[in-house]
């Protein structure tokens, strides 16, 4: 092989991988935009597509259409995207640092902890000094942090092996589910209804201020992830090798847990517990783009956003005129899709 040809081999291969990354991102972005538009175009009021498009693009339109599109549908569509991104991202980080394909903030009890925090405020919280609208998200984030801390401490803070953390997470999942069930038992009927909303998940309470908070949290996490992107990739080699390469594995895990609890807490606080997105989005991203975290993390965020956006559209079109609970939709639609992808992929990717 001539030297010229060998130079090409590595660079060619690298460039090919890089361009594949870019293609996947662009396609995901396009799917995302499509999802947002579809989301804005569907809803119980059954508005014609032209009217919605006109209103979104800024043309003068009927005040009722304007009110519906801008104060109800667009916040829902954009919240679906940002919550999906947050869940996909936190699932990706969790699967990487715990080295477990079943890890996600839902399966490891972080979402359950956040849901329990919200339920606690709803059922008991009339006597709190803070207005309920703030108390619920704050307490949800607090308990997401508690759950993360629990996973970390129980899993063995010193050794922090992946297996130990996963076991701790599952234990916490059952614990918080049981505690929430207990709250449901003692709740009055109105509180019960609200708690059930949390457990099903719903995008219908989205508002612009909540959206800004979500985007702010996502933005705040980005610089930390950029810093750690190669360290996270190195974790895939195992703790020993990663430490030898100079990565401080323990502090990387702690930092990642903080990010996960922030992302999950905010997502659950505003939208309730939505399962499956954090589990599936990283797997899809991995199948398409591989494990290089520079592409894997953004791709997981995108996949999560697309998944939740499409689920939101589906939840509105399944029963025209009504809205199907989104937590159910993500599972019912996500599972067959995921199985199809698993059967289709020729190479092992875990």
């Amino acid at each position: 092989m001539t030297p010229a040809a060998t130079v090409d081999a590595v660079t060619v291969a690298y460039r090919r991988a890089a361009s594949r990354r870019v293609t996947v991102m662009l396609v995901a972005l396009a799917a995302l935009l499509l999802g947002v538009l579809l989301d804005a175009a569907t809803g119980p009021a059954l508005l014609p597509l032209g009217a919605v498009a006109g209103s979104v693009l800024g043309y003068p339109s009927d005040s009722a259409v304007q009110a519906i599109v801008w104060s109800i549908r667009l916040p829902v569509a954009l919240t679906a995207v940002s919550v999906g991104a947050a869940l996909g991202l936190s699932g990706a980080i969790m699967q990487t640092i715990l080295n477990n394909p079943l890890a996600s903030s839902y399966t490891l009890g972080i979402s359950a902890g956040a849901g329990f925090g919200a339920a606690l405020v709803i059922v008991l919280g009339a006597s709190l000094p803070v207005p309920e609208a703030y108390a619920i998200p704050l307490n949800a984030m607090l308990f997401a942090g508690v759950a993360c801390a629990g996973v970390y401490l129980i899993g063995g803070a010193r050794a922090a092996t992946a297996e130990g953390l996963v076991l701790a997470g599952i234990a916490l999942l059952f614990l918080f589910q049981a505690l929430t069930a207990l709250l449901q038992m003692i709740a009055s009927p109105e509180s019960l209804q609200q708690v059930v909303f949390w457990l099903f998940g719903s995008l219908q309470k989205s508002t612009w201020p909540k959206l800004w908070v979500m985007l702010a949290v996502l933005g705040a996490c980005t610089p930390f992830l950029v810093r750690d992107v190669w360290g996270l990739t190195a974790l895939k080699l195992g703790d020993a090798r990663a430490s030898a390469l100079g990565v401080n594995v323990r502090s990387l895990r702690i930092r990642s847990f903080v990010l996960i609890s922030g992302l999950t807490g905010v997502a659950v606080a505003f939208v309730g517990t939505i399962g499956f997105v954090g589990l599936v989005a990283p797997h899809v991203a991995r199948m398409l783009i591989g494990e290089d975290q520079r592409g894997f993390l953004p791709a997981s965020a995108f996949m999560g956003a697309v998944l939740l956006s499409l689920a939101s559209v589906a939840s509105k079109t399944i029963a025209p005129g009504a809205i199907f609970p989104i937590g159910i939709v993500t599972s019912l639609i996500g599972v067959p899709f995921f199985i199809w992808m698993v059967l289709r992929t020729r190479r092992a990717y875990w």
């Binding site: 092989m1 291969a13 690298y14 991988a17 190669w230 080699l237 100079g246 591989g290």
Partner: protein, 254 residues
């Protein structure tokens, strides 16, 4: 780079894993570490790599400071299936990597892959490679950061004889060419004899013998070290070969 280990001791809790180890590995020399299971070989490598708390002194070129780039290959390397060869090898340079991969990084990867004859596999995912090829990839990862010390924990245990010889040849050639200091844990005594410049024999955390392979890998040392009766043979080209015969303490079958 030379490594001087003095009075190294490691214990997990109350259990003593390594006791008072004294070794010397010079520049451009390969030190093979052999011994039965549980004798502390991996622990010794990890201690030199700085991954364990150890008492005693480890000097690199005379100073206590550990060199920045140490090529360490642990025993069971997790193989991330969804990473390509280039990405895995790039990880070896993690200290210098930024968000964008620079041309120097790619060039270093190219050189190492070319050295190991693996440039054709550059774009493949690890899941598409055989076990031997994966091991070579990890070796490339260890080499890409231009280390001065190579610490290899059982690098050839899972490979077929062809790949075993390839890896050993590369390691010895690199050590000589670049003046590295290599510590290699091996189970295969003959490989150690042929490819190591010095051999250290460990048993239950203590150093039984250390020095030239001819002097260390004797029938008596094998018996004390491994509880194995062996026979020494000489090949046509004069090199010695050890054939294990039977364990010293035989289970009597009545």
């Amino acid at each position: 780079m030379s490594i001087n280990v003095q009075g190294l001791s490691v214990h997990y809790g109350t259990r003593i894993v390594l006791q008072d180890i004294n070794l010397y590995a010079g520049t451009g020399r390969v030190l093979g570490i052999v011994g039965p299971n549980g004798s502390g070989k991996s622990t010794l490598i990890k201690a030199v790599a700085g991954l364990l708390k150890a008492s005693g002194r480890i000097n690199f070129n005379g100073s206590e400071a550990r060199p920045k780039s140490v090529g360490y290959m642990p025993q069971d390397l997790q193989a991330p299936m969804a990473l390509t060869v280039i990405e895995v090898v790039l990880l070896g340079r993690i200290a210098q990597l930024r968000l964008r991969v620079s041309a120097e990084d790619l060039e270093a990867v190219r050189q190492v892959l070319q050295l190991l004859g693996m440039e054709a596999l550059a774009g493949r995912y690890l899941s598409e490679l055989s076990g031997g090829q994966r091991q070579m990839v990890f070796l490339a990862q260890s080499l890409v950061s231009q280390p001065t010390v190579l610490l290899l924990d059982e690098p050839i245990s899972a490979l077929d004889i062809c790949h075993q010889l390839e890896v050993l040849e590369v390691v010895r050639a690199m050590t000589l060419e670049r003046g590295l200091c290599t510590l290699m844990v091996l189970h295969d005594l003959n490989a150690a004899a042929r490819y190591a410049d010095d051999v250290a024999l460990l048993r239950e955390g203590c150093l039984v013998a250390c020095g030239d392979p001819v002097d260390v890998l004797t029938v008596e040392n094998i018996a004390t070290g491994f509880d194995v009766e062996a026979e020494a043979l000489t090949c046509l080209d004069g090199t010695g070969v050890l054939i294990p015969r039977r364990p010293v303490r035989m289970l009597t079958v009545a």
